[in-house]
């Protein structure tokens, strides 16, 4: 029972990180209709920003997190303006290749600046821990879960309740019609990138505190897993990304604990394929009807 509970909690922890990244993926996909392959590398940049802010600038952790969110949001907007905006009318494969180019660029930039050896992410001490049913729960895990829950609720309220959120839903529904109604599509997409990248920065802090070591290629695997999570839940759907992320984290941790550590990735991907065969647009994805 205690193994089950421990796995469940660590699965929720990992799932929250995936969900935060997947939200960025899914929002950008839903609104800009593109796969932002560089999203994973934003996490890496966020983590390095956190390291520099705490180690070199001696900022307190919370301020460091805010700095990292601002840097990532700015970077996301910069990438969108320079690389993706000129390609708005281009075929989607060209945009995908550009995103891959941006991903290579960020990885190699980090390699040049920080070197290839891994760096330790500053750990937040003094959060303490507590025990339920013989299972020790770290303070950071509780914080991860709490912050993710708050962000999810906040984001849902933002999308459903504010003017900007309404604009986002409109652009995602029909870009041309939204533009005709006076919504600035470019501004909406820019803000989407800022929010997505900011969420990636928050995810990077939790990732750093859970897995400690950061190197220039750190972002790619969580990026791919989060992409998987977004597709799992139905890409473009925000509740889908949250559900997909958390389920993926749980499946991965349970596979590690009960089946095999080496096979966990294969199991995660196999579950994904099975789900997609049964539900081709993901768990909560919209069914699209084809018209002739």
């Amino acid at each position: 029972m205690s193994i089950f509970l421990r796995t469940f909690i660590s699965g929720l922890n990992l799932g929250s990180i995936y969900a935060l990244i997947a939200l960025g993926y899914s929002m950008v996909y839903g609104i800009a209709k593109m796969l932002n392959f560089a999203h994973g590398d934003i996490i890496m940049i966020g983590a390095y920003t956190g390291i520099v802010a705490v180690m070199n600038l001696h900022l307190p952790p919370v301020v460091a997190l805010i700095v990292s969110v601002i840097v990532c949001a700015g970077l996301g907007m910069l990438i969108e303006t320079l690389a993706y905006k000129p390609l708005r009318q281009a075929p989607s494969l060209s945009v995908l290749i550009t995103a891959i180019g941006v991903s290579y660029f960020l990885q190699n930039l980090a390699l040049l600046i920080f070197g290839s050896e891994q760096k330790a992410y500053p750990q937040m001490s003094g959060l303490g821990s507590f025990t339920i049913l013989d299972v020790k729960v770290d303070g950071i895990t509780v914080m991860t879960l709490a912050v993710t829950a708050v962000i999810m609720i906040g984001l849902t309220l933002f999308i459903n309740g504010t003017r900007m959120g309404k604009a986002m839903r409109a652009v995602s529904e029909d870009r041309g019609a939204a533009e005709l109604m006076g919504i600035s599509v470019n501004k909406t997409i820019l803000i989407t990138f800022a929010i997505g990248s900011g969420l990636a920065a928050i995810a990077s802090a939790f990732y750093g505190m859970t897995y400690v070591y950061i190197k220039p290629t750190t972002g790619s695997m969580p990026g791919i897993k989060a992409f998987t999570a977004a597709v799992f839940g139905g890409i473009g759907s925000l509740p889908g990304a949250m559900l997909g992320g958390i389920l993926l984290g749980l499946i991965e941790q349970f596979a590690k604990a009960y089946i095999s550590t080496q096979w966990s990735d294969a199991i995660v991907f196999a579950v994904l394929i099975l789900v997609l065969i049964v539900r081709p647009t993901g768990l909560l994805g919209k069914k699209s009807t084809e018209k002739v």
Partner: protein, 338 residues
């Protein structure tokens, strides 16, 4: 009719250029004039050409995004090399290597069939993630099996040979792949595949068996990738499944897109340029991948810029010729009016 003949000529020209290229490379290689660096690159670059041309079949002709091509290469590499290791010393090299390529291709084709099955229900980005997932599953399975050498990698030292032994096989594989793709593109089957890409529902309504063609494309592309993988494995003394992750698939996809969708000659040129460029930029060390990334982004921005596109279209020899002719006719007309 004239147009058909023209495309046949164009294809023959591409094939002739490829054959001539390999003839020159063979002369350089066997006379000993080739530098060591080029010799080491010869087989890997040739295999990337095969990978790119075969992926172009899926992405360019069928119009489906596949991020799992490296998985098929890996399947072919391990099955082909295992057979080659088993046959080593029992049959001469001239039988062993083609056999291992065939085996690699067949195993990869079975993989292609399995990956192609979900592809029948999914499309677009969902298919992309499924092919990527299959590639990662293949990677973990090979890494965790015992007879494939596990995480330490398969020791292929006994069958390892240099470019001098492998070049004929590589040249034949490249030419066969190009020939098959070219013929397919012009055949009834190829037109059926392209019609699925352009409008699936319309294709279905005129009686084209979408299921059959989609599966056939996946199987054929996987076969060539597997054969290429088997030969690729012979240029290393140790092969690890982890080196064939989705990043390799993405690299091949980049080659296909830069070379031009559906263009075989384009894939060949892009594969050669993109694989040799990083080697040539070695002196820039850490900057070379950064430069590569910037070039990639700039090329995408430039090729999709309407103004630049118009400018380059104007530079095309055919267009220039037409312009010149039109100019002459105008001049003549002007002359006759006087």
């Amino acid at each position: 009719m004239a147009k058909k003949l023209k495309t046949v000529h164009k294809d023959l020209l591409t094939l002739a250029i490829l054959a001539a290229l390999y003839a020159v490379l063979a002369v350089l290689l066997y006379s000993g004039a080739m530098s060591r660096q080029l010799m080491n690159m010869l087989i890997p670059v040739s295999m990337y050409v095969v990978m790119a041309v075969s992926l172009n079949l899926v992405v360019g002709l069928l119009g489906e995004l596949s991020l799992g091509h490296a998985g098929f290469m890996s399947l072919g590499l391990f099955s082909g090399c295992l057979l080659s290791l088993f046959l080593n010393g029992q049959v001469p090299e001239i039988v062993r290597i083609p056999l291992s390529m065939l085996a690699g291709g067949l195993v990869a084709a079975i993989g292609g069939l399995i990956v192609g099955l979900p592809a029948l229900r999914l499309r677009g980005d969902y298919l992309a993630i499924v092919t990527l997932a299959c590639c990662e599953i293949i990677k973990s399975v090979i890494t965790n099996l015992n007879f494939t050498g596990g995480a330490l990698g398969l020791n292929t030292a006994p069958v390892y040979t240099n470019a001098k032994h492998l070049l004929p096989y590589a040249a034949v594989l490249v030419l066969i792949t190009a020939l098959v793709m070219m013929n397919l593109k012009r055949s009834k089957q190829g037109r059926a595949i392209m019609s699925i890409r352009d409008n699936r529902i319309a294709a279905e309504s005129v009686g084209i068996n979408v299921t059959y063609y989609k599966l056939a494309v996946f199987v054929l592309a996987a076969f060539f990738a597997g054969a290429a993988g088997a030969l690729y494995g012979h240029c290393f003394a140790n092969v690890k499944a982890v080196s064939f992750d989705y990043n390799v698939s993405i690299e091949i996809l980049v080659i296909v897109v830069l070379g031009g969708m559906g263009s075989i000659g384009g894939s060949v040129v892009a594969a050669i340029v993109l694989r040799t460029l990083p080697e040539m930029l070695r002196e820039f060390q850490n900057f070379r991948m950064l430069v590569y990334a910037i070039v990639l982004i700039l090329v995408m921005l430039a090729t999709n810029n309407p103004r630049l596109k118009q400018f380059f279209a104007g530079l095309h020899p055919g267009t220039l010729w037409k312009k010149w002719k039109a100019g002459r006719i105008k001049e003549k007309e002007a002359g006759s009016h006087e």
